[in-house]
Subunit: 347 residues, 2 copies
DNA sequence: CTGAAAGCGCTTACAG
DNA sequence: CTGAAAGCGCTTACAG
């Protein structure tokens, strides 16, 4: 008995509902009703059917069931193209949240990746039109994803997780990056920093834009001038962040707020390279609370979001949409929490 | 037009094959044959049918197709319970490899998580028996997963990715941790280290056990004594690694080989805490090449595996199994590569 | 070359 | 309370 092979493709014939019905001496309908927990069937019959089901090891063919019921009881989740090199932790957490909710509600989860081909050929729509999925979750949308405003797509239950578009028709569950940045800047300002640099990501993401807005709002609130020379817009990459940090240090920044923890790691390297001590001479703050954040040197102060809960709630809304229970657009931003460690010099 | 809601659940009736057939004035069979690329249909008819398909925006109902074809053209991938807190990077990479291969071959991927309930209720078997999936990939198996030797499960195409069991019937694609550890120890020994400590994970994982074997083999090869007091078996957690590293330093280890990069991060912290300089006084090496590895201080020397390729090849074998093309058990370990950075003191 | 028909394994009004 | 029958939307021998 090999685990892969020709021999065992022709195994025990699958047990069907008919087998169960025959063995019980009842009709298909009766078995079907028992299995869907219909109250009309008396306890005696129910018990007997269930016993035979167990004895034969019967499992309903979900494909047949789905065809008859005209739905797949499946959600599709689309992850960003891995080549985009975004925050792994975020997507891992989001996926956990989505999975937890689909599993809880007995939905299946199919996974896809937003490769250029997947997008340009509108495979996301196919999933829905082909009945492979009843609803769609799209993770980490960027502002360039205007295809998401697709009329046809909007006719299905569909929600963005982790990003959003400026479109009143598109549902989303996203981190409140603005509040996160605000908390970071407030904290840095309260530690006495007046020259706080921001190392932000590509502006085509809602999260990035919101983060920049929060940064700016924080400065205003603390009566600090907004200085574009203290602002860097770069790719989500630690090496790019390192270089940006070097530039900001030249311009006499005393604190660096980086768009992600990995970017903050690059900034820490730049600070050390410049002969300065992060956490003492220069404060550094990141975003995301990556696994390694606590183990950087010094331990990284960071902004954390409850990504799992956020993703789970978004998933719940899509399922409600599938089941015709929800109505209207769902748009919600989830608050941030500042995790203070050594790198900001406060601890 | 809201993205979630009751209103739009009753949208344009789905276009079926019958609609296409009627519009073309041909039979269902003809349309079906055209769509499956059957050569019997003349080019003229084919062209006409395809035009109507496009005009009507017809997409085949895959549920109906799968029912008729008696397969789901879907693979299920089981991830470890997130509570187990294993290496995120590994699973992200493995998932990418699996996805790339399933997508390439037109298979759908469904995702599940090995929660205690999922395992104890044998949900993995259900997926197969209910025709939700044609084959199964199980990521990160531990030796405690003896349920995987399940007779019934073995009758389906099934393969482990990233771990294996001592069972000649169970296919796997796993990292060659032994060669990785061997390379690390050789390298450390060649730098003059005689007291190399090993901070390993829980021994119930094949990878952990193999790593320990490689460590031991490396010592033997270099004529260094194997000393159990230089060996720690702990949970996959950086804090536990930090404590283990402190103990090993007390026992005068001059080099620390940690089971994962995150554990190595904990070890780095311990070294600094002890007033020693990692990369100068004490060498540290990790495994996995995590995103942050390069950005730890000092940059971490680590053992890297081509997890993506490994997962893709495993997936290919499962698909072959599904299609009745492969036979026999597939068991393969994939070689390691040592990435030398500063933390070992060589660079 | 193409159509009528049976079949995939369920669900669900509709009778009785 | 339960069964016969139609239906879900395809595929695939089998005729012609």
């Amino acid at each position: 008995m090999a685990s892969i092979g020709k021999e065992e493709r022709s195994l025990p014939r699958r047990v069907t509902m008919k087998d169960v019905a025959d063995r019980c001496g009842v009709s298909l309908s009766t078995v079907s009703l028992v299995l869907s927990g219909d109250q009309r069937i008396p306890p005696g019959t129910t018990r007997q059917v269930l016993e035979v089901v167990k004895a034969l090891g019967y499992r309903p063919n979900v494909i047949a069931r789905n065809l008859a019921r005209q739905r797949s009881k499946t959600l599709a989740v689309i992850l960003p193209d891995p080549e985009a090199k975004a925050d792994q932790r975020f997507f891992a957490e989001a996926l956990k949240g989505v999975y937890a909710e689909t599993a809880r509600q007995g939905y299946r989860l199919i996974l896809d990746v937003a490769t250029p081909q997947f997008m340009s050929r509108r495979f996301y729509l196919r999933l829905l039109k082909e009945n492979s999925a009843d609803g769609l979750l799209y993770l980490g949308a960027g502002l360039r994803d205007e295809f998401l405003a697709d009329k046809e797509l909007l006719s299905y239950p569909f929600l963005l997780v982790g990003g959003y578009l400026d479109d009143p028709h598109i549902s989303y569950a996203a981190p409140d990056e603005e509040s996160g940045a605000l908390a970071a800047v407030r904290h840095l300002a309260s530690l006495g920093h007046a020259r706080i640099g921001h190392i932000g990501g590509p502006a085509l993401f809602s999260s990035v834009r919101d983060q920049a807005a929060g940064y700016r709002r924080g400065l205003e609130e603390k009566n600090l001038a907004f200085d574009t020379s203290l602002t860097e817009e770069i790719a989500f990459h630690p090496e790019a962040a390192r270089q940006a940090a070097l530039r900001l240090l030249e311009r006499k920044a005393t604190a660096l707020f980086a768009g992600t923890d990995l970017m903050a790691a690059g900034a820490l390297a730049a600070v050390k390279e410049s002969g300065l001590r992060p956490g003492r001479d220069i404060a550094v703050v990141g975003v995301g609370d990556a696994d390694a954040a606590e183990w950087l040197d010094p331990a990284l102060t960071t902004v954390r979001f409850r990504v799992r809960d956020m993703a789970a709630e978004g998933t719940r809304r899509v399922i409600e949409g599938v089941q015709g229970e929800a109505s209207g657009v769902f748009q919600k931003k989830y608050p941030a929490e500042l995790i203070v460690r050594k790198s900001c010099g406060a601890a």
